[in-house]
């Protein structure tokens, strides 16, 4: 897979020049030093303060502040606490977590261990979608290396801290990436999202407090602890600190993962992808995956950060950027998106289960000029307000931004 750092980044945070699949490489490049420092020199709450100060936002789509999330769980007294790495990456157009899983598995193990130390966790899980066969192989190998060399298990690095991580495989379910559905799945059940609250941080796996973070979120932890929160905040914008791995695809010359400052513009990403394929004209981009929104020509200079997209009524989501040319059919893409959600709806709640088939029928009627866009938006709005999880809320953004073109 092509993975590059944008030229405006002096020093990338995640897509560093060395690749660290195997333990020796990782250690040669300073791997597990941070864990050692954390376990021997820092108190748990000092780590949480650092993560809070970095203002790192969750990279799984919802952009919740990671330090605050960890703090919730740290505050609770419980017999067990868990840490889960969400590697179910299923948002259409997103493939950045796959790069991290395949190239830096040890950085995840180190980050999960640091999280567990900070919140008082005694067991970790890496939940990977079964389709990511290569990621599974590499993470499995990394876990074995870590156990064999005393970075996991009893009395890690002779610090008195003991911690275990296990791998779990999902497969063939998009909703499984939703945090409570994923927890149900680890418990051996169908991936039906739970009603929130309580949030997983308070009551998660087997009812115990559980921190669940995206792969990319965790990949930022070691660099932050190593270099400090201020260093991290040199990257990105005021309200979106750090870099982002943008999954760039579609009708461009060079698809791939691009790490850039949060706030990079669409135009800059298009240039980094070496422009539109066959010199076609840029029409629009779908940002944030199937549950994201369309961005048009007049917005090429819009900085791609959490706050700027929100202000524009859109979302950065997972950071997927699908470029469409004048020849690509947006009309049928929108139907593809609705069909995807219909298929992936778990069926637990009515607005989503019944809403998507109806939305598709209405969209077809709209294409035949039999109804107006506003009729569709009314239903999408009801689904947005009443669905149990974000999957049922997801139609609104692509529809709304498409109709506003």
């Amino acid at each position: 897979m092509e993975a590059t750092a944008h030229k405006s980044l002096k020093e990338p945070i995640i897509i560093t020049t060395y690749q660290t699949q195997c333990l020796e490489d990782y250690i040669d490049n300073g791997g597990y030093e941070t864990l050692k420092n954390v376990l021997t020199k820092y108190k748990p709450n000092e780590i949480i303060e650092q993560i809070k100060a970095s203002e790192l936002l969750g990279r799984g789509g919802a952009a919740f502040p990671t330090g605050i999330k960890w703090n919730f769980t740290a505050q609770i007294k419980a017999d067990h606490k868990f840490v889960i790495c969400n590697a179910d990456e299923g948002e259409p157009g997103t493939f950045k977590d796959r790069w991290i899983l395949e190239h830096k598995p040890h950085s995840l193990i180190e980050a999960i261990s640091i999280c567990a130390y900070s919140v008082g966790g005694d067991k970790g899980y890496i939940y990977i979608r079964g389709e990511y066969a290569e990621s599974i192989n590499r993470v499995r190998k990394a876990l074995k290396e870590a156990y064999d060399n005393g970075f996991l298990g009893e009395n890690i690095l002779e610090s008195g801290f003991s911690f275990n991580i296990e791998l779990r495989r999902g497969d063939g379910s998009y909703v499984c990436g939703e945090e409570t559905a994923l927890i149900e799945s680890i418990e051996g059940k169908r991936a039906f999202p739970r009603f929130k609250p309580p949030f997983p941080g308070i009551k998660g796996l087997w009812g115990y407090p559980t921190v669940i973070n995206n792969v990319e979120t965790l990949a930022n932890i070691v660099p932050i602890i190593k270099n400090g929160a201020d260093w991290f905040k040199n990257y990105g914008t005021k309200q979106s600190s750090g870099t982002k791995l943008y999954s760039v695809s579609g009708s461009v010359n060079k698809s791939g993962v691009i790490e850039a400052n949060l706030g990079v513009t669409l135009k800059e990403l298009l240039d980094a992808a070496q422009g539109m394929k066959n010199n076609k004209v840029f029409k629009c981009a779908l940002i944030g995956g199937a549950s994201g929104g369309f961005v048009y020509k007049n917005e090429l200079d819009l900085p791609l950060s959490y706050e700027t997209l929100k202000e524009a009524g859109k979302t950065l989501g997972s950071g997927a950027v699908l470029f469409l040319s004048e020849d690509d059919n947006g009309e049928s893409l929108l139907k593809n998106i609705l069909t995807f959600f219909k298929h992936e709806s778990c069926g637990k709640c009515v607005p989503c289960r019944e809403g998507y088939p109806k939305l598709i029928a209405m969209y077809e009627a709209f294409l035949e000029n039999r109804i107006k866009a506003e009729n569709i938006m009314k239903l999408a709005d009801v689904m947005f307000k009443t669905s149990l999880c974000a999957l049922g809320q997801s139609a609104k953004m692509p529809l709304e931004t498409y109709f506003k073109s």
Binding site: P92, G93, R98, G130, G188, K189, S249, S255, N336
Partner: protein
């Protein structure tokens, strides 16, 4: 490996349900689970058969219906849709003479349409069992299918 031997690898922890089902599926020539597998697994984990059945039918990776030696998963999500994955799917189905259940005439292949495989950088893409394929066109598909057919002669 038969199911009894797979179970020996795992403790009686419910959270191994999907892991065990994955291993059981991988171990079978036709890559599908049957009711007997689910009975043995649920007894071992001390869960209701209905729970195992519920999970086996929820995740599209598992199937109680007859599958095949090669399960072809063609991505039909956003990026691949733009890159004409539907044509790829139709071509494959006709190349393999698929029936209404999407099984190939020779019984070697089962074709399905799936959500994004995270291979959008090499779209249009598909997986055959655990192997990934990208930048597909009719020629590459013909070649891939041919290779698998030839490779499977001896087994």
């Amino acid at each position: 490996m038969d199911i009894e031997n797979i179970l020996k690898k795992y403790s009686k922890d419910k959270s191994y349900l999907l892991e065990i089902m994955h291993d059981a599926k991988e171990s079978k020539e036709n890559r599908s689970l049957d009711l007997n597998d689910l009975k043995v697994i649920s007894k071992y984990l001390n869960i209701n058969l209905s729970a195992a059945y519920g999970a086996a039918t929820f995740y599209s990776a598992f199937s109680l219906k007859l599958q095949a030696k090669y399960i072809i998963r063609v991505c039909s999500s956003t990026v691949c849709h733009i890159k004409k994955s539907y044509d790829i799917l139709l071509f494959l189905k006709s190349l393999l003479n698929c029936d209404d259940d999407n099984l190939s005439k020779d019984g070697l292949f089962a074709v399905s349409e799936v959500g994004c495989l995270g291979l959008c950088d090499i779209s249009p893409s598909m997986m055959i069992n655990n192997q990934v394929y990208g930048n597909l066109d009719e020629n590459s598909i013909k070649r891939i299918v041919e290779e698998l057919k030839n490779g499977s002669n001896g087994t």
